[in-house]
């Protein structure tokens, strides 16, 4: 099996991982940066430097380009091996990657909630539809309904509209009262006011409803229409795509597999972004959903602290504190309403990998029982979609994560056993 060794290994090349890698790469320190996508940037800067539009994205890509980084794209971490090593599946096969310091920046995914019709082709995540359009999905002239919660809905709406989509409706589940309170607090963050103003301007004329949420998607072979509810008003809107965004869920599978301390589904870190494991750091959404600014601050602190640049890391603390306050404001303003727990009907599929329906899942007392008896969460996504859904629906928590932490090729796993067999033979020979 191919082997690579780095002083610092960063997993995840979104803003947090990029900032960490760039901050760590100095004075001859070797830094590796692993990501499963074809290009760095994570979800927010998807597509890498060629597609960067914001000054901030360009700045970080330029710094990454000028740094002596080894970028491993299209590569997924499959499992922790012995201490200080990870099994990584690259596009050219399995690879053992050793490190002195490890910085985890695995990011977040969208939370999906089951409702009747949500498995129809055309029903997507809000960030998911945006990602596909960035990847070339034709959207011009398509009718799109955007439903869920939070500023991401507006950002996605503005992006899709700029690409020629007809935005038929934005259904925001939070109330006007909460939106008003959010706007009042926003006054303390001039940066965000400018962004909000730009979004509002680009979305002039787009129908927006608050206290409004999706209840059903209609169609036979693919999505044809959606029904939304606002108080006692029921509206059905024809559309080609519905983009749902019910907030984000931290990707904690790799930190969990490494046995980092996790509380309330987020990775616990100290002031230096170090987990309870010596030499293992975590930055970005996995330490708590906080957005771009917080990810950049945490990534820099992790990269600097992991390489002993403590004064420079300390200088970033105020920026991190400010970003954390904004994250708390967002979490308060866009908390999910309890009515969203009642959308699924008896025959609504909850686990899409194994087609396990709501009435079957809800007979169980906890996640483990549902897994063992119904195969809920046992398919290729390994519960990444239905686990977050059942956490919201039933308050279930997921237990241990076992390797391989993502669907892997058999060849990659065989390589590990061949390798350890080979090593033990070598050791015998030496002794």
């Amino acid at each position: 099996m191919k082997r690579l060794t780095f002083d610092v290994l960063v997993v995840g090349a979104g803003p947090a991982g990029l900032a960490a890698a760039v901050s760590a790469a100095h004075h001859g320190i070797s830094v590796g940066l692993i990501d499963d996508n074809p290009a760095p940037g994570g979800q927010i800067w998807r597509g890498g430097p060629d597609y960067a539009t914001s000054a901030q994205a360009k700045y970080w890509f330029e710094r990454a380009n000028a740094s002596p980084l080894t970028m491993l794209s299209r590569s997924r971490v499959i499992a922790p091996l012995e201490s200080g090593a990870l099994l990584v599946e690259t596009s050219s096969g399995a690879c053992k990657v050793r490190f002195e310091k490890l910085i985890l920046a695995p990011g977040a995914r969208e939370r999906f909630l089951p409702f009747p019709g949500w498995t129809l082709p055309g029903v997507m995540g809000a960030g998911g539809l945006q990602a596909l359009v960035k990847g070339g999905l034709p959207i011009a002239g398509k009718r799109v309904v955007i439903a869920g919660t939070g500023p991401l809905l507006l950002a996605v709406a503005a992006y899709l509209k700029s690409k020629g989509a007809q935005i038929r409706l934005i259904a925001e589940q939070t109330s006007w009262a909460q939106l008003g309170s959010f706007a009042a607090h926003l006054l303390r963050y001039p940066n965000y006011i400018r962004q909000a103003g730009n979004l509002g301007w680009s979305l002039l004329g787009v129908p927006f409803r608050a206290s409004c949420w999706i209840t059903r998607a209609h169609g036979t072979d693919r999505l044809e229409a959606v029904t939304v509810r606002q108080h006692n008003t029921i509206v059905t809107e024809e559309c080609d795509y519905v983009a749902c965004g019910f907030g984000l869920v931290p990707n904690i599978e790799l930190p969990a597999a490494l046995c980092c301390k996790i509380v309330d589904e987020i990775v616990r870190v100290d002031d230096w972004q170090q987990t309870d494991l010596e030499g293992v750091y975590c930055a970005g959404e996995a330490t708590g959903i906080g957005g771009l600014e917080l990810s950049l601050a945490e990534g820099q602190i992790a990269g600097l602290a992991a390489t002993g640049q403590m004064d420079a890391a300390h200088n970033i603390f105020p920026a991190r504190q400010r970003a954390r306050q904004f994250a708390a404001l967002l979490a308060d303003s866009f908390a999910l309403r309890p009515e969203l727990r009642t959308l699924a009907e008896a025959d609504t599929v909850v686990c899409r990998c194994e087609d396990v329906q709501y009435n079957v899942v809800k007979q169980h007392a906890n996640w483990r029982s549902a897994k063992l008896h119904t195969r809920c969460g046992m398919g290729p996504c390994q519960g990444r979609v239905c686990g977050a859904a059942t956490a919201f629906l039933f308050g279930w928590t997921q237990d241990s994560v076992r390797p391989p932490i993502t669907a892997a090729r058999i060849a990659s796993l065989i390589k590990v056993s061949e390798d350890s067999h080979h090593q033990s033979k070598e050791q015998q020979h030496e002794s």
Binding site: N37, Q43, R109, D221
Partner: protein, 84 residues
Amino acid sequence: MPERLYEIQLTVNGQAVRVPKGSIVAAAIAVAGVDTYRHSVSGEGRAPLCGMGICFECRVTINDQAYCLSCQTLCEDGMRVVTT
């Protein structure tokens, strides 16, 4: 980004499709007019949900290799994509 103007030709279920360079396979499948990327264990048609390599709903067979995520794979000339 002039190189985005270059087109790539591939096939989706045997049908020739042209897409701009930099496109992902999930986009090429939509360009081919195909709605169903895979069939679920109970036979429902499915298509991409997460768009970022998490949900596995967009998995297809690419150049005879099964279980490829069409949302994370870039189109290449001569690629053979088959939905399942």
